[in-house]
């Protein structure tokens, strides 16, 4: 022991650490109750501490159809969490699990599962069911408690709990409201304790502690025994048991015995076996209790496999031996319990039968004293746990998997078995059996009873019938009757030599004896008027005594004085002639009656000696068959009054002769006796057969009655359970009513105290109820209840209440709407459907929550948020918001654009994972993780990093933690400034500065920089040169000092505009040199802006244009000459020429007329030349502007062409107009182009006489073509024809400005002009758009 200890304790430790086992290492207490159970349960949970470390499962007979509020009721009584099991749930300590209605609970491996009960059949036994599964799953850690209730549910389940080593408690039936269930459980005699509920918690805690302490849940013997004091007293306990009860448990499994004894130590709350031994000695009832506990046994399929194997091999074939289809094999299973044994046997039998070609019919009888188990056995349903012993092939063949769970025995097997509620000791046995199986029944019986039972079995069995007993039972004490076949497996056979003891034991016969009182009847009938009857009666005085019997031999009528031949024996009186006739007459009478029946004629039995009242008489009995249905025979008793035929005196008188006579008489007597004997034997055999037949009939009747009784029992049980349900429902309803009362007052108070205006409407939108607060909004008074809502005025708008309420009723979707009251308050009106407890819609509930404050606050918040978001969105530098784990919460728009990523790629990701890890910058992470928590922010942290999408960047990072008032999670604001470009620019700038400073210095343009006051801050060499100052001198000056006074106003106007608009401008102005001379400069002044886009300085690029100005002035002067000095005399010339022509015309044609006309033509030509020259100059100067108008080009061309036709008489000008829209153009200039082209065409085709002008629509504009039929132009000429001052060689005259001006005009219109060679001649064309583009 000592050497083994460390190892064992180690093992124990290992198993103790084992997860699931440890988890399950608490007691699970199942409480079963029915009627009156709620009170009992409430009482229990009130008393039970909430931290017991045990799990509780409550199984109550609940109504099948009603919702149960048991869980809520119990929750009020305990601090443990109470839950109604609605799905598979894991059992945890300090929790209470309650059965739901119409379901069963089963326990498997730490979880409670729901199962649908089989409604179709039988009595509901949810408690048994759960206890059983609990026992199988939890063994010694299961505790069952049976509380108040009717019926017997729980008793069987308790057996399983006990058999598996659990603990069983029963409520004291005297205390229980309904004592059915407790008493039934007590009757099993296996419960551990019966006590008031108030004492249970304490007991439970003791059981909990000791179960753990003694490791009762552990299978190993040593572990258990080592914890109990004085373990060596166990032998004394067992000895005491043997002496007192005759049961020897010394061969029992020791651990089982210890565990069961330990339970009794728990009952008596001691941990010392010696103490218990003392109790055992002093209290005889404790011995019984312990014995019962030790004997608990529950049946199982193929229990004791070895025994069944032996049975299969040795007995079953023998049973079938010599039987054919006409025969029957009859087997009786006494004490069948829930049927496993009998089904096991049926399986074996049918298996063997299947191997035979001609199998006999198999009939099994199964009986048990317990109706409940019979009911269960009849159902033939078995849980998974129950069928584990069955090999799969048998399972498949003989069981049907149930839809829900578990298995059901196949119909074929089920039909082989007839179940009956039957007590071996009380009820007549079955007969002619081939085998009786009675296992684990006799162990409960004392020795004498065992013998009695064995005798009954012996009677019931046919010759060579087999007896099959349980492993701890024996038939050895009746060796005469049974011989041993297999001692180990307890198989016995009826001894062949025991035939003489085959009398059925006291078998109470049915039927009630009715006393026959013919004399009294006769007296009563004295007044009868029938002469026939009177005659008969009178005759009776003279006739010999007689009686009438029926076919059964019952006396149905007696004559006077026949009584002397009849005699009633002690015991139950019988009217049967066989019982009633004088014993001395019996044998002769029987023979006579037999013969008479047989031969159907009158038979006389003569000379029968008889002593009546000490007088010897001789009597003849005449049996006369009557043959009517009621009366079988008339029996006459004739007193032989004549001399006796035998003369005894003669025998004395004569010697030999007398001897001979005596011998003869004796021979005669012997012959008669033999005859009678033969008759008697025949008669006996016949009646035996008859008895057998009637016995079978009786059995059949018996079986029928039994099955009827079964049905009645079932109905009774159903009624009982219904009754229970009703009681339960009633109790629940009572609780419910109280609860409703409380709820109602709660509701009243709530309504009164709530500050939320609430209106309840019914389905017709009439007011059902409202809170006082409602009156602030609605003008509602008490009497308005029942009025439609629409009748009530209110102070709210908008008014959609009626519609909204109706909508909620139809859609069942709640509506929320904000409304405002006339005092400026805002309310959140919420319309919700009114749902009754059974989820029916019965109206609408409208609540008005004053949200004025919230609304204001929310508006403020919205504004704040919009403000903040606006700032973030506007920021150019990218911004990321991180949470405390550096996951991106959001990022600014500029972040996505700068780093070419999207919100999807960014939000929610860890900082270093953004954009495929491009932000995986160790230094940054380090900063975020270390510096930030310390300082809360960092700024201007410069990071250089190469990004995937945008390349190498230098960035300036600022980070800051945001304090959040309500939200505990801190956020980090990370601002990123991409300074790559600035860095680069800085470098570039330095370079550029170097590069350009030279350029600036050496520039041919003066370059100057002035500040806003006009002070010169930079001037390059050229500028110094322009003004004749040196640099130092200039830097002392204000720019405005240098401007010539006449131009100063213009300058200051322009510079003001620049300051205002920051837009550069060009200006030509005069400046004063150091030597006082004035020069013209052309300047471009542009703003220099600072970082904030403010104007910082002005740069001026200045060129000395004095020379240019001189040239310009000269040109202007030239144009002045051209336009005025030339045109003015031309005007006079032209005017006078025309006047001359007029005067000439007035006086009729003269010689001078052609001369004047030539003069006019040349004047006009000169005029045109001046025009062209002016236009050319103006175009070159950019002073040429178009005067747009909208006109009909076709009409215009026709008009102008007809004018030109006058001056070109040699050519016919043909106009072909296309369909074109109106054009927007300078009509005069287009006219000029047109006449240029036409006159050109005419001029260059002197040999032809036709010019064709066409207009074509080009969608965008108009194409105008002018075609001549001259010699055409060479390619070289076509290229140059539009050049200024170009003249076609062949032409004789003109400056060559016309086409150049035309080109410029068309270009200014945004059109094109060109020439192409046609078949013959040239084709000039131009296009102008309908709407000119900007030029």
């Amino acid at each position: 022991m000592v050497t083994n200890n460390p190892k064992k304790s180690k093992m124990a430790k290992v198993s103790g650490e084992d997860g699931p086992k440890k988890e399950k290492n608490f007691l699970t207490v199942a409480l079963g109750a029915s009627a009156g159970g709620i009170k009992a349960l409430s009482e229990f949970f009130e008393a039970m501490p909430a931290d017991s470390g045990m799990a509780f499962v409550v199984i109550l007979h609940l109504s099948q159809t009603h919702k149960s509020s048991l869980a809520e009721i119990l929750q009020r009584k305990t601090k443990m969490e109470v839950q109604q099991v609605s799905k598979t749930v894991k059992v945890k300590p300090n929790n209470v699990y309650v059965i739901p209605p119409a379901k069963h609970l089963v326990m498997t491996d730490g979880v409670i599962k729901l199962k649908a009960p089989n409604k179709a059949k039988g009595v509901r036994v949810p408690i048994d069911k759960f206890f059983r599964t609990l026992a199988e799953a939890y063994g010694a850690k299961a505790v069952c408690i049976i509380l108040s209730g009717t019926g017997s549910d729980g008793s069987i389940g308790m057996g399983y709990v006990k058999e598996n080593g659990g603990f069983a408690m029963i409520q004291d039936p005297n205390e229980a409201e309904y004592d059915g269930m407790p008493r039934s459980a007590i009757d099993t005699k296996i419960a551990d304790v019966v006590m008031p509920i108030a004492d249970m918690p304490e007991k439970l805690l003791f059981v909990r502690d000791t179960t753990q302490k003694w490791s009762l849940a552990d299978d190993r013997e040593a572990v258990v025994s080592s914890k109990i004091k004085n373990m060596d007293s166990l032998r004394d306990v067992l000895t005491l048991l043997r002496v007192r009860t005759g049961h020897d448990f010394s061969n029992y499994k020791r651990s089982t015995v210890i565990r069961r004894v330990a339970r009794h130590l728990q009952i008596h709350e001691t941990d010392d076996l010696k103490v218990y031994l003392k109790i055992l000695r002093e209290k005889p009832e404790e011995v019984t209790s312990l014995l019962n506990n030790l004997l608990i046994n529950v049946t199982n399929f193929f229990r004791d496999k070895a025994a069944f194997d032996a049975l299969e091999q040795e007995v079953i074939p023998a049973l079938f031996h010599g039987k054919t289809a006409r025969d029957q094999i009859r087997v009786w299973v006494a004490g069948c319990s829930t049927g496993e044994e009998v089904y096991s046997l049926s399986i074996l039998l049918s298996e063997f039968a299947a191997t035979l070609p001609d199998p006999p019919k198999i009939q099994l009888f199964a009986s048990d004293v317990d109706d409940e188990v019979i009911t269960a056995a009849r159902e033939g349903r078995f849980t998974e746990a129950a069928i584990t012993e069955i090999p799969p092939q048998r399972l498949e063949k003989f069981f049907v998997k149930e839809a829900s769970e578990g298995y059901r025995i196949s119909k074929k097997i089920r039909e082989m078995v007839l179940f009956a509620s039957h007590n071996i000791l009380r009820d007549p046995p079955f007969s002619r059996l081939d085998m009786v199986s009675c296992r684990n029944v006799m162990i409960y019986l004392n020795r004498e009873t065992q013998e009695q039972v064995l005798k009954i079995f012996h009677f019931a069995l046919s010759a060579k019938g087999y007896l099959f007993l349980g492993t701890s039972e024996t038939a050895d004490n009746t060796p005469k009757h049974f011989s041993t076949i297999d001692k180990k497996n307890r198989i016995y056979q009826v001894s062949p030599s025991s035939g003489n003891w085959r009398v059925p034991p006291a078998l109470p016969l049915p039927g009630v004896w009715k006393p026959a009182l013919p004399n009294q009847q006769a007296e009563i009938r004295e007044n009868m008027q029938s002469y026939g009857e009177l005659h008969h009666r009178l005759i009776e005085y003279y006739a010999p005594p007689s009686l009438l019997i029926n076919e059964e031999g019952d006396i149905i009528h007696l004559s006077k004085s026949v009584g002397q031949y009849l005699r009633f024996a002690e015991g139950e009186p019988s009217s049967n002639i066989m019982d009633a006739i004088h014993p001395a007459l019996l044998s002769d009478f029987r023979a006579a009656l037999f013969t008479a029946r047989k031969e159907k004629k009158t038979i006389e039995a003569t000379n029968i000696r008889l002593r009546i009242n000490e007088v010897e008489k001789r009597v003849n009995i005449i049996v006369r068959p009557v043959g009517t249905p009621e009366v079988e025979a008339l029996i006459l008793f004739e007193e032989n009054t004549g001399l006796p035929r035998e003369e005894p005196v003669q025998a004395i008188m004569a010697g030999d002769e007398a001897m001979e006579t005596v011998l003869r008489r004796m021979d005669e007597e012997l012959r008669q006796t033999k005859e009678r004997l033969r008759n008697t034997v025949e008669q006996y055999e016949t009646s035996t057969e008859e008895l057998k037949a009637s016995n079978e009939e009786l059995q059949a009747v018996n079986e029928e009655l039994r099955s009827t009784a079964e049905e009645l029992e079932t109905s009774k049980e159903e009624l009982q359970s219904l009754n229970e349900e009703l009681t339960t429902v009633n109790n629940e309803l009572k609780e419910r009513v109280d609860e409703v009362g409380n709820t109602n007052s709660d509701l009243e108070n709530l309504m009164r105290s709530t500050h939320i205006a609430t209106i309840f409407l019914d389905r017709d939108l009439k007011i059902k109820r409202y809170t006082p607060q409602t009156t602030d909004i609605f003008n509602v008074i008490k009497s308005d209840i029942g009025r439609p809502l629409s009748h009530i005025t209110h102070r709210l708008s908008p008014d959609h209440f009626q519609d909204d309420a109706a909508k909620v009723l139809s859609s069942l979707q709640p509506i929320e709407r904000e409304v405002h009251a006339d005092l400026g308050n805002f309310y959140l009106a919420r319309f919700a459907p009114y749902r009754t407890i059974d989820d029916r819609i019965d109206g609408v509930v409208i609540t008005f929550v004053d949200v004025t404050e919230q609304k204001k606050a929310s508006q403020e918040i919205d504004e704040e948020r919009a403000y903040a978001e606006g700032i973030v969105a506007t920021l150019r530098s990218p911004l990321i918001i991180l949470n405390k784990n550096f996951h991106v919460v959001s990022a600014s728009r500029s972040f996505y654009t700068t780093f070419k990523t999207t919100a999807e790629e960014t939000e929610g990701k860890y900082i270093s994972e953004i954009g495929n890890g491009q932000w995986n910058i160790p230094r940054l992470l380090e900063l975020l993780e270390t510096i930030l928590p310390e300082k809360g922010e960092f700024t201007d942290f410069e990071v250089e990093h190469t990004f995937r999408d945008i390349g190498h960047r230098t960035m300036l990072l600022d980070a800051r933690e945001i304090e959040r008032l309500h939200d505990s999670e801190r956020l980090i604001l990370l601002a990123i400034e991409d300074i790559t470009i600035w860095n680069k620019l800085e470098k570039d700038r330095i370079q550029t500065e170097k590069k350009y400073s030279t350029i600036v210095k050496q520039s041919i343009a003066g370059i100057l920089k002035i500040d806003l006051s006009g002070k010169i801050i930079f001037a390059n060499t050229k500028f110094c040169e322009i003004l004749g100052y040196n640099e130092e001198e200039l830097l002392q000056k204000n720019f405005s000092e240098l401007i010539y006074e006449d131009d100063f106003a213009l300058y200051s106007k322009k510079i003001k505009a620049l300051r205002k608009n920051s837009v550069g401008y060009a200006i030509e102005k005069r400046m004063v040199r150091k030597d006082g001379s004035i020069i013209w400069t052309s300047n471009f002044n542009s703003p220099i802006l600072n970082d904030t886009d403010g104007l910082e300085a002005v740069s001026i690029i200045s060129i000395d244009i004095s020379q240019q100005k001189v040239l310009e002035r000269q040109k202007d002067e030239f144009i002045g000459v051209a336009s005025h000095e030339l045109k003015t005399p031309l005007t006079s010339i032209k005017g006078y020429t025309e006047l001359l022509m007029e005067a000439d015309t007035e006086g009729g044609k003269s010689e001078s007329t052609p001369l004047i006309e030539k003069l006019n033509t040349q004047v006009n030509r000169l005029n045109k030349l001046v025009y062209d020259l002016l236009d050319t100059t103006r175009i070159a100067e950019g002073k040429f502007s178009l005067h747009y108008s909208t006109f009909d080009l076709n009409a215009f061309i026709k008009e102008r062409t007809s004018e030109i036709q006058i001056t070109t008489p040699n050519h016919k000008l043909s106009v072909k107009t296309g369909k074109i829209a109106k054009v927007y153009a300078d009509i005069e200039r287009i006219g000029l182009v047109l006449s240029n082209l036409i006159t050109n065409a005419a001029k260059f085709s002197p040999e032809a006489n036709l010019v064709v002008i066409t207009t074509v629509d080009t969608k965008k504009g108009v194409k105008v073509t002018v075609r001549d039929f001259g010699m055409g132009l060479a390619t070289k000429e076509r290229e140059k024809v539009f050049e200024r001052f170009y003249r076609v060689e062949s032409s004789g005259s003109g400056f060559g400005l016309g086409l150049s001006i035309s080109r410029d005009i068309i270009n200014l219109h945004g059109g094109t002009i060109g020439v192409e060679n046609a078949d013959k001649g040239s084709l000039f064309y131009f296009t102008i758009p309908y709407k000119p583009g900007k030029k």
């Binding site: 031309l1130 005007t1131 032209k1134």
Partner: protein, 117 residues
Amino acid sequence: MKRIIFVDDDPDIQEMFKLIFEKAGYEIVVFPDGRSLLKNGYKLPDVIILDKQLPDIDGIDICRNLKCNKKTKHIPVIMLSANPDIKVLAANAGADASIEKPFSLKELRNMVAKYAG
């Protein structure tokens, strides 16, 4: 008799206008420069023909002046100039019409007839 005031410094053109319009039955009063026109009181004409380029004052300014004066603003003014932009300049100064030099007599006659009525 319709009255025309013609302002131009060129004596040849002055003579030509007299020839044209007296023959056509107009009374034509000629002023050689702007100052003389503005200084001297004159009987209001039916039309004023005003040359742009005058020795003292720009004809455009004279026109503007006339059109600002209550007494004279209803009198049609026809501007006369060698400047090709006269059309725009005249219109801007409020003149009723303009003729670019050189012009045809037909054009001049039609114009005067239109404004003198």
